[in-house]
């Protein structure tokens, strides 16, 4: 079983509602700020982008890297978080 962080567990436990983008696993203050500057101020906006990319891991990771400069671990955490959320609530 791969270990998931507390942030991941908290995010996946309930509908995201109006949570800010920094509530996503892998997205901290710096990355969150960059995403907000690009207009992705809420977690659901990033979810929108994730869904537009048809939940494809590679594409989403590339997009995340381009948009906010996330490294491989952060990309993976964010992707995993969103994927699990979608599996649970979508």
């Amino acid at each position: 079983m791969s270990s998931t962080s507390q942030k991941h567990k908290d995010f996946v436990a309930e509908p995201m509602g109006e949570k800010p983008v920094m509530a996503l696993a892998g997205i901290g203050e710096v990355l969150g700020k960059r995403l907000e500057d690009k207009g992705f101020d809420k977690a659901y906006v990033v979810l929108g982008q994730f869904l537009v990319l048809k939940k494809d891991e590679e594409l989403f990771r590339d997009w995340l890297k381009d948009t906010c400069g996330a490294n491989v671990k952060q990309q993976g955490d964010c992707y995993g978080c969103l994927k699990e959320w979608c599996d649970a609530f979508l």
Binding site: Q49, V52, L53, K54, D56, E58, W63, D66
Partner: protein, 389 residues
């Protein structure tokens, strides 16, 4: 050919992103699509037209290139169609997703090209594999074999995947002379290759393999001194190296055709990873192992538990312990073990039972004693009565 895009057919967001990509100032947000189309035509199409005319001659020579469109010049629909052709089902191509899909298509086209080249190489190699065997067995001067060498080289390299057993079999029983000849041929070939153009990448990679594996495709200058060693060290690793060399050599040939060093670099870099992991895996797994004559690395297998003369060892000294068991063990040090608890319980129960029994016994004794006292009292009374009379 879907090169010439008609801007009128593109979406507004697509036009916007195109203009941004070409560093053209965007008109106001409320302007109509026609304005975007105009700007697009003005700036971008001129650029493309200029590019096209200069590229036409190159493309006429390169049939392969002619089939590959540049992803950024495609319309949304064309990009989607190209991706579908490669088995990818793209989602909506919007301003934000366009770049990602273009990159993906680019990667797919590159890998396609690589495959096509590999297939072309292999097709050549299969047909000539038999000739190569015969040449191996003859004892000829290395010099006389220089001309057939390149073809031999390519043959050997690709057929290495398919004829390793046949290669290995002839080698050990053969006398050292012939194998040393073959190895000296290798040395010369490798030296030729290293001298060719655009071979810096190749030489560094082969140098790495030389040092790392200790295999003996030989340092270029010496052939005779190492021939005795090399005969012992004939291995699959040599064949793998040769394959890599040939593929990179074929790349250098194609590089001139393709008229771009970027292609070659990508090729060499991307070609190395698939092959390096094969060898790096060995290095990583067995960094301290000595080279064996056959180049095969073997580790001793853990003995079967309970088998003959191998008593079952219930507690291995270095067995990995999970954090949970570690915690449990620490806690258990402070708690009293269960066996002792049960023992204490039984002892206490016995003690209580004995006490109970004793109390019961003493009660009956006392009651017996009371009876006696009563009897004595009665008899005394009786005596007293008698005494009165």
């Amino acid at each position: 050919m879907p090169f010439a895009e008609d801007p009128a057919h593109l979406s507004k967001s697509r036009l916007k992103s195109d203009l941004v990509a070409h560093n053209v100032a965007l008109p106001s947000a409320a302007s109509k699509k026609a304005v975007y189309v105009e700007l697009h035509l003005k700036h971008i199409d001129q650029k493309n037209a200029a590019d096209f005319s200069s590229d036409e001659e190159d493309r006429a020579d390169d049939k392969k290139d002619a089939e590959m469109p540049v992803p950024s010049c495609l319309t949304d629909e064309d990009l989607k169609a190209m991706l579908r052709k490669h088995g990818v089902k793209p989602g909506p191509i919007t301003a934000s997703t366009r770049v990602l899909y273009e990159r993906k298509l680019h990667k797919l086209l590159q890998s396609d090209r690589r495959e096509r080249l590999n297939e072309a190489d292999k097709a050549v190699l299969y047909s000539d594999s038999e000739e190569e065997k015969k040449q191996q067995e003859k004892d000829q001067d290395s010099g006389s074999e220089k001309q057939p060498d390149p073809s031999d080289q390519t043959q050997k390299e690709s057929s290495q995947c398919f004829l390793p057993s046949s290669r290995l079999r002839p080698c050990p029983p053969r006398n050292t002379e012939s194998s040393s000849n073959w190895n000296s041929r290798n040395a010369l070939k490798s030296s030729e290759r290293s001298q060719s153009q655009c071979s810096q990448i190749i030489s560094t990679s082969t140098a790495d393999h030389h040092t790392g594996l200790g295999s003996t495709v030989l340092p270029r200058s010496k052939s005779t001194d190492d021939s005795s060693l090399s005969s012992q060290y004939f291995s699959i690793t040599q064949m793998v190296e040769e394959m890599e060399n040939s593929s990179s050599r074929s790349v250098t040939d194609n590089a001139c055709e393709f008229n771009g060093t970027s292609v070659q670099e990508n090729w060499a870099q991307s070609d190395r990873p698939p092959q390096e992991p094969v060898k790096d895996a060995f290095k990583d797994i067995l960094p301290g192992s000595k080279t064996t004559p056959t180049g095969i690395y073997v580790t001793r297998r853990r003995p079967i538990k309970g088998a003959a003369q191998r008593p079952v060892q219930y507690s291995y000294p270095d067995s990995p312990v999970s954090p949970m068991t570690q915690q449990r063990r620490e806690v258990e040090r402070y708690l009293v073990p269960i066996h002792i608890q049960i023992l204490v319980f039984i002892i206490v129960a016995c003690v209580l039972y004995l006490i109970y029994v004793n109390v019961e016994g003493s009660l009956s004794y006392w009651s017996y004693g009371e009876d006696r006292l009563l009897v004595q009292a009665e008899s005394q009374d009786a005596e007293a009565d008698y005494a009165q009379d």
